[in-house]
Symmetry: C2
Subunit: 405 residues, 2 copies
Amino acid sequence: MTAPLHEARRATSDARLPDTQQGMRRRNLSRVMHTVAAHGPLSRAAVASRIGLTRAAVSTLVDELIRSGLLDELGPERPGRVGRPGSALAVSARGPVGIGAEVGVDHLAVCAVDLRGETRARIVRPARNRGRSPVPVLEELAVLVERVSDEVRRSGLPPAGLAVAVPGLVARNTHTVVRAPNLGWHDVDLGPLLRTALPLTVDNEANFGALAELWLEGESPEDFLHVSAEIGIGAALVVDGRLLRGTHGFAGELGHVPVRPEGPACPCGGRGCLEQYAGEEAVLRAAGLDPGEDRVALLAERAAAGDKEVRKALRGAGTALGIALTGAVNLLDPRAVVLGGALSRLAPWLLPALEGELTQRTAGRSCKVTVSGLGPDGPLLGAAHSVARAVLDDPVGAGGAERAG
Amino acid sequence: MTAPLHEARRATSDARLPDTQQGMRRRNLSRVMHTVAAHGPLSRAAVASRIGLTRAAVSTLVDELIRSGLLDELGPERPGRVGRPGSALAVSARGPVGIGAEVGVDHLAVCAVDLRGETRARIVRPARNRGRSPVPVLEELAVLVERVSDEVRRSGLPPAGLAVAVPGLVARNTHTVVRAPNLGWHDVDLGPLLRTALPLTVDNEANFGALAELWLEGESPEDFLHVSAEIGIGAALVVDGRLLRGTHGFAGELGHVPVRPEGPACPCGGRGCLEQYAGEEAVLRAAGLDPGEDRVALLAERAAAGDKEVRKALRGAGTALGIALTGAVNLLDPRAVVLGGALSRLAPWLLPALEGELTQRTAGRSCKVTVSGLGPDGPLLGAAHSVARAVLDDPVGAGGAERAG
C-alpha cells in the first residue's frame, strides 16, 4: 500500500538544482536592483542593511550594475551627517525600457515603461478588430510598436523586450493565440506576423491585468482573484504574488464556469456559462440594447441616468457573477476579488447583487470585493511592466539584443 | 496612472531573503537526503554527480548526515570494479519516523512511516465520532498515538513529529479545527487535548490525501485537483508539486461550489451546493436508503448488484460532480482530476455521468479523470509521510525533541 520514499520521483523544488555561486550572484544582483527600485535613492550601506549582505559584497554587485548602465550614482548624499558621505544610488533613467502592447476588440495600444516604472511613451488607437484577420491587425500593431520604440530610442532608452496582451487563450512558449473567440482568431503565431527583433512575450489580457494590479496598486494583497472583462469575461488568480497559470496556461476561464447548468447554450460547448449572463452581449441583450461602438460606456451612461431595464440587466449580471465567484472563492480562498477592465466602470450597478450573492453563499468566509483603480489600462501597463521587471529580476543576464550591442 | 516601480512594495520572492552560506548548506543537506532516499543506495560520487556538487563538498555533507544518524554507510560496493571502492550510502533504517493520525467520522487511525517511506506501525479503530465531543475523541486518539510511538521507539525509531488529518477547515498555525460540520466541531484546538510532546501539525484530510497522491502514486502529475469524500466533499489543488492552500488555508471547498443556484438550502448558508447532490447523505436519500454503519460500502454493494435506484442516485451525483468540476477545470486548468477517499469505491457508477458532463462542457480542454490507488488510506499516509519528508527537507534543522536528546 505504501510506495517507499526511495521510489518517489519527486523531491522539493529546491532539491532540483544545485545552489551555485553563480546563481547566488545573479539572485543578489536582482535583490540590489529591486531594493533600489523600491526604496531608492539609497547608499550602498543602506542597500547592504536591507538585503542582509556585507557592504563589501554589495559594493561589488553595485559596481557591476553601474557598469551595465542599470544603476546611477547620484553623488554624495546628506553632507551634514557624521562620517564619510555615501553616494546615493538610483535606478538609471537611461536604462532599458519595457514595451507593452494590447490587441483589444475595439482598440490597439502600445506603451513604454522604464525601470523606475514611469511611462515614457504611449499610443492608443481605436480599431474594429472583431472578426478581422490577424495579418492586418498585427501589421498595424507592428507599426505602432516601431513608433514607440523609435521614440524611446531617440531618448537614449533601449527597448528590452515586447509583451503583447490579447483577449484569448495563449500558448506562451510559442507566442500563439490558441483561441480568441471575440477576435475570431484561432492558432495565430504572433512571432512571424509582428516581425520584431525584440524578445517577445504574449499573454492573456486578464493575466497582465492581474499583474498590473499586483505591481502598481499599493493596497492590493498578494492573494487575489482579478476579474476582467472586455467582451468576454476572464480572470486571473494571484497566489503569493505569482500568477497561477494552470497546466496548459489556460487557468482563469471564469466566463465558462456554469452558473445555471441547464441555461442557454454557450459557443464553448457548455450551457449556462457565466458569459451567457454577464458577458457584454448578454447584458446588452437583456437590457434591450443594440451593440454600438462603445458598449460599456453606453451601459454606464444609461444606468447612471436611471434606465430601469439597464439596471435590471446589470443586477442580473451581478447575480450571475456572484454565483460563479462563490465557486471560485470556495475553491481558491483568495483574500479579495478585484473587478478590473471594463467591469470596473459598471461596478456601481453590479456590486450590490454580486456582493449579496457572495455574502449569503459563503457565510463565515471573508473575501472582500474591490474595484481596480487601473480600469481598462491594466493589461497594457501589466505587459510593459512585465518586461521592465524581468530586467530587475535578472539584471545582468536579461535585456536582449539591444543592451548587448 | 502608472505608480512608479520605486513605490512597488514587492519584489520577487527570491528577493525577500538573502542567500547565505548557511542557507545553502541546509539546502544541500536536503538535496543529499532526497537524492539518496529517491535513488539509493548510492556512492558519494554518484550523489555528487546527481546533484551537481563536487565530491569533496558532498563528502562533508554526507559525514554530517551520518553523524546525525540519518544516513548509513553500507560498506564497499561492487568490489569487482576498477579503482578504490566507494562505500554505498542509504537512508538510515533507524532514523526518525513520522507519526500520522486521522480523525474520521467513522474511525480513528494512527501509523508510523520511516525515512525510507515504509510503514512501521499502524492501528485503525472504528469509531462513531459524529456529534461526539472533541475531548473523548482526542483522548482516544492520544492513546493510539502513544501506542504507535511506543512500538516504534522499542524498535529504536524516534518519532520526529505528529501530523493529524481532520475532515474540516483547519487554522494550521494554531492547530485549530475551525469548522468540521460532519463531526460537529467548531474552534477546537487539538494541541492541549492531544497532550503530545511531539511537534504537531494539523491539516484538512483532503490536503493530506492530495499529498499522498503526489508523493506515493508514481503516475500522478504535479498539477492536479484531488477530490475526496467521506461524508462531506473536499478537494485539494496541487500546483507544481505544492498544495494551494488559500489565504486562510480554506481552499478546496468543492462541496460548496453552487451546482444549481436555486437548489436546496445547504447548512453553509448557500443553496444548491455540490454536497446537496453528491454528498453521502444526499446520495443515500436519493437512493431511498437509510444511513447505516458503513454507508459507502452499502452504496457500492447495491450498485454492484444492479439496484436501479442506487445507480440512478449515483448518476445524479456524478452529474453534479461534473458540473462543479467544470467550474474548477475552467478556473484552475489542472492536468488531471483524481478521485480519492470514499469516492474511489463508487467511481464505476459516478464516472460515466461525471466525465460526460465534463467533456461536453469543457470542449477543447484536456483534463483526464483518474481514480486514486490509495483509496481511503490517502489522508493517513499523507499525514505520516509529511512528517518524514519534513526531515528530508531540513535534515539537520528539523526533527524535534527526541532527535536532539
